[in-house]
């Protein structure tokens, strides 16, 4: 080993403040240090001795394997490079770390031994930086040059050399861009932008000089969106972005330019920004109890803002400090809202459903604002939510305004409709009044004796035309009732058999007149009684049958069949089929047949007449009854109408009503009408069906009559009361009559007008029924039956006194009469005391103990004191029973004045002689207090 320390070089080296090492090179190619400076040893993280020792032990092994060959080659061959004998390698320190070392070397020789003097620098830091730059650069290059799905073109531009280095992409241009000057490339690129603004902007921002300037200023990326035409002619938005890097190898500044299809992004951004912003003024995320505003600006909210004051912050603070104070409503409502907006509630709600929506009302600057909070879930476990907020005030106010408008419009429409219906109704009623007079006078005129045949024919024609006209008016009324929803269905028990019979009578007659064959069949079993609206059902059937008759020519056939098709619970569905061989209905018209005012053609209308309301009414009635109507027809062959109606079953059967039938001949009726014609007509109509009727021209007179009848204990079964009596209140009259007769008489209001408006008041006053004027014989019996049956059903069993053991005081001067009466009464178990005149009757009564007698029967015409005077005296007696003991007049005087007088004298009833025992018993039983 060279004693280096003593050598000349050693002294020089020592004096050098340098990382120097002297390597001895052996002939067999080995190399190892013989000396190193202290600085070098420090660089090697140890002492010089240790370093030299290590290198002697394993020469060359501390060099990095990758670098070793180069070092060995240089030393063995003593390679010197012109001007630059330097070498960079990696060497392991004594602590085992790798260092990048840059060594400047020189070969020297002394005493035949060869050395390499190396001046070393630690370049680890530089080297690592370089490596990182390389890696970074390569990463960027790779990333930018690797074509992703939406990358259209990727170009590498060497700004330093002003050349396009590389170009790749999915939409390559026709020409190879490589080697092109950058400015040329940019200009060419700019030409692909159809819009001038884009061209200008592109050339201004993406020229080489500008990019270099940016790079120098540390701005390494730059991007913009342009509207571009692609090589294939397609136009789309592109995202043009440039990333600037210095190539670590060449130190050139490289621009990686990529063009991406931005259509989707532009669209979704637009959607996000515009659509969302349209609906929401704020988009915020909430996580960990804090919010962060993503989209939205307080400045955009014009009025009533509850926008968070900070872009981020505590959600709870925001709610408590900004929302809570603005809330409107009661404390309870406020608490409810705050609870709904609490994080806990949001979490809970979003677990159930998404989105979770809370609407609140805020009172800001004196106005109410409606706000909507919508929460979405981003990540359940992370409790990451999105809050979208918007102001719905405008919508709410618009909605309110719209509702208001709609309400107004509806009101106007309703009023118009009501007005129309009212007009129709009023007109029809007004027309009905003179029609009444026409029909009434016509029927009176027809009764006149010695009518010539010709005159009779005219009168009959007037009558039938008047009835036809009335039918049309009634149709219009029905329609207006239907349209105003005022058609009320009756729910009454009726005889189905009777109804069919009535229909058959009417229809059969009409068919016979026209020369048509008519056949009615009942298939299977149909009950005798049902519960429903008989009149309406009859109207429907007669309407359909009437149409069949109308549209069937002479010699044709009409069949009417009835069948029970279903039976469930307490209801039955009946099917009525009306079939004719008439002219039929055109296929095109069939769907319109049930529309109001529709008729197949004006020709048919002219030939057959009618308002075109019949079928519409029919359908409406059927549907109101929850039924249905259908039609089948072949032009020229005939038509078939099928009607299904469900009626309630009745417990009644024909057997059960036998014997209970009301005999119309026994009815006594009072007609009250200020119009003598109407009275007379009514009387004639009733006479036609065998009912005796009295008439009265005023309510006051009628009340007197009713009172007298009551006294005679022969009350009217039916009172027909005209709705409009001049100067009198029909309702009040009804009430008075009802008071007099109790529940015994059926009061029927007779009117040409609509009774819809007064129906409730009238029924409360005691009206049982309404009938339209004028009366018709065909309907009157039915109506009376209905009224009386209803009455019988309604009437509670009257409590009658038991006459057995009753004590009767009888004043009667005629011994025969007295004896008969005593016999009659005693047969019934009554005790009778006889007074031959009024005076004795008074005396007997006065001497009897109080309440001894139960009733007094009083003859009127008696010697000494007549019955009237005796009654007055009894009533005048000072005893408790004097005022209330029933006193019944019995007299051959049957005139109304007599009855009137009896009542004035204080009697309770007035029976005419000869007195029927049953009648007397009934009267007594009613008057004696049980």
């Amino acid at each position: 080993m060279l004693d280096f320390k003593t050598s000349f070089y050693g002294k020089i080296f020592d004096s050098l403040d340098n990382n120097a090492v002297l390597m001895q090179l052996t002939n067999d190619g080995k190399y190892f240090p013989v000396w190193c400076s202290r600085e070098f040893a420090e660089m090697m993280e140890g002492s010089a001795e240790d370093f030299i020792k290590r290198e002697h032990a394993e020469p060359g092994k501390s060099f990095h394997p990758d670098d070793r060959a180069e070092v060995e080659y240089l030393f063995r061959n003593k390679i010197t490079r012109a001007g630059d004998n330097s070498l960079t390698f990696r060497q392991r320190t004594l602590k085992g770390n790798w260092l990048w070392v840059n060594a400047h070397y020189a070969f020297v020789e002394e005493n035949g031994i060869e050395y390499a003097y190396c001046n070393c620098f630690d370049v680890t830091k530089i080297k690592k930086g370089e490596e990182r730059a390389k890696v970074l650069y390569e990463g960027v290059r790779e990333e930018l040059e690797t074509l992703s799905n939406d990358t259209l073109v990727s170009v590498r531009l060497n700004l330093t050399k002003d050349i396009v280095e590389d170009c790749r992409g999915r939409e390559l241009y026709d020409i190879d861009l490589r080697g092109m000057k950058i400015s040329e490339r940019f200009e060419q690129r700019a030409n692909c932008f159809p819009l001038e603004r884009d061209r200008e902007k592109f050339l201004r921002e993406f020229n080489a000089a500008q990019l270099l300037k940016n790079f120098a200023a540390g701005k390494n990326t730059q991007s913009a969106v342009f509207f571009s035409r692609r090589p294939n002619g397609r136009e789309c938005f592109i995202g043009y972005s440039v990333t600037l890097r210095r190539d670590p190898d060449t130190e050139d500044i490289i621009a990686f330019a990529t063009e991406k299809d931005y259509n989707a992004e532009v669209v979704s951004n637009t959607v996000l920004n515009k659509a969302l912003a349209d609906q929401f003024d704020m988009i915020t995320y909430i996580v960990g109890g804090n919010y962060g505003v993503v989209i939205g600006d307080d400045a955009d909210v014009q009025q009533g803002t509850i926008f968070p004051k900070k872009r981020t912050g505590s959600y709870e603070e925001y709610i408590n400090e900004q929302i809570a104070p603005t809330l409107s409503g009661s404390d309870e409502e406020k608490a409810k809202v705050l609870k709904a907006l609490s994080l806990q509630k949001i979490e809970q709600a979003l677990e159930q459903h998404e989105p979770y929506e809370v609407n609140i009302h805020c009172f800001i600057d004196g106005e109410i604002f409606h706000k909507r909070f919508v929460f979405y879930l981003v990540d359940r476990d992370a409790k990451f939510y999105i809050l979208l907020k918007n102001d719905t005030t405008k919508i709410q106010r618009a909605q309110l305004a719209k509702n208001e408008q709609l309400r107004n419009a509806l009101e106007v429409a309703n009023q118009a409709n009501i007005a129309k219906t009212a007009f129709l109704s009023a007109m029809s009623h007004e027309i009905r009044t003179p029609m009444n007079a026409i029909i009434g006078l016509d029927s009176i005129a027809l009764k006149a004796p010695n009518l010539s045949d010709r005159l009779r024919e005219y009168l009959e024609k007037i009558g039938s035309n008047a009835r036809h006209l009335l039918g049309i008016i009634n149709d219009i009324l029905d329609m207006s009732r239907i349209e105003s929803g005022r058609m009320i269905l009756q729910n009454e028990e009726f005889s189905f058999a009777n109804m069919l019979e009535q229909i058959n009578v009417i229809v059969g007659e009409q068919c016979r007149e026209k020369g048509l064959q008519y056949d009615c069949t009942v298939r299977g079993h149909v009950d005798d009684f049902y519960i429903g609206d008989e009149l309406k059902l009859k109207q429907v059937l007669i309407n359909v049958l009437g149409n069949a008759i109308k549209f069937t020519d002479k010699g044709g056939e009409i069949s009417f069949s009835v069948e029970k098709v279903a039976h469930f619970e307490d209801k039955s569905t009946l099917r009525f089929i009306v079939k004719d061989t008439g002219i039929g209905i055109d296929k095109n018209y069939l769907p319109k047949i049930f529309e109001p005012f529709s008729q197949e053609d004006s020709g048919a209308s002219n030939a057959y007449g009618g308002t075109g309301l019949g079928m519409a009414i029919t359908k409406n009635i059927v549907e109101t009854m929850n039924g249905n109507i259908a039609v089948k027809s072949d032009k020229g062959v005939g038509s078939e109408f099928i009607i299904n109606i469900t009626l309630r079953n009745s417990p009644k059967s024909l057997d059960s009503v036998k014997g209970k039938k009301i005999e119309v001949k026994d009815l006594s009726v009072l007609i009250i009408d200020d119009d003598p014609i109407a009275c007379e007509h009514g009387r004639l109509v009733l006479e036609d069906v065998g009912i005796k009727a009295e008439t009265s021209f005023s309510g006051r007179e009628a009340i007197d009559r009713v009172r007298l009848r009551k006294a005679r204990h022969e009350v009217y079964n039916i009172v027909l009361l005209d709705l409009r009596l001049p100067g009198e209140n029909t309702i009040a009259i009804t009430r008075q009559i009802r008071e007099l007769v109790g529940n015994e008489t059926a009061i029927i209001i007779l009117t040409a007008y609509s009774w819809d408006d007064i129906i409730e008041e009238a029924i409360a006053a005691g009206v049982d029924r309404f009938m339209a004027k004028p009366l018709f014989a065909s309907s009157v019996v039915h109506e009376f039956h209905q009224a009386l049956e209803q009455k019988n059903l309604d009437e509670p069993e009257k409590q009658l006194a038991d006459l057995e053991g009753c004590k009767i005081l009888m004043a009667e001067d005629m011994p025969v009469n007295a004896e008969i009466m005593m016999m009659v009464l005693s047969m019934q178990g009554m005790e009778v005391e006889h007074a031959p005149n009024g005076q004795e009757a008074v005396n007997t009564f006065a001497q009897s103990p109080p309440n001894y007698f139960d009733a007094v029967l009083m003859d009127i015409r008696m010697p000494i004191m007549d019955g009237l005077k005796a009654t007055e005296e009894i009533r005048a007696l000072e005893r408790p029973d004097a005022k209330k003991i029933p006193i019944i007049a019995m007299t051959a005087n049957a005139f109304d004045e007599d009855v009137q007088r009896s009542l004035q004298a204080g009697m309770n009833a007035h029976l005419s002689k000869p007195v029927e025992p049953e009648h007397l018993f009934k009267t007594l039983a009613e008057l004696i207090e049980p």
């Binding site: 025969v816 008969i820 016999m823 009659v824 007299t891 051959a892 005087n893 000869p914 029927e916 025992p917």
Partner: protein
């Protein structure tokens, strides 16, 4: 001797009369006797002859009740008419109006 059949032949509504006497034939005949033999018939004849309309009315009215009660139909209508005419004090030949009534009554009384 008067029988129901005979009465019916004379036009008396025996059915009605009997029903008023609760169907007791014997009682009916007794009442018939009482009624027909009533002296009011004679009084009325006398009063009418005297022209005492007021009193006549009273008697006629009373008789009408009895005749009605016993359903002596053939004279009831006549008697009623007479009564109402008297009530109205109409100037009529009451004697001849009353004659058929009296005759019928006398016939029945004779057969009792």
């Amino acid at each position: 001797m008067l029988t129901i059949q005979k009465l019916q032949d004379y036009g008396v509504n025996t059915k009605e009369g009997l029903s008023r006497c609760m169907g007791m034939e014997k009682f009916y005949f007794r009442m018939l006797g009482m009624g027909l033999k009533n002296d009011a018939f004679d009084k009325l004849e006398k009063l009418l002859a005297e022209g005492n309309l007021e009193e006549s009315f009273e008697q006629a009215h009373a008789l009408k009740g009895v005749v009605g009660n016993l359903a002596i139909t053939p004279i009831f209508a006549n008697l009623s008419e007479l009564t109402e005419s008297l009530r109205a004090k109409k100037d009529l030949d009451y004697v001849s109006l009353y004659k058929p009534i009296k005759e019928f009554r006398d016939k029945l009384v004779a057969e009792l």
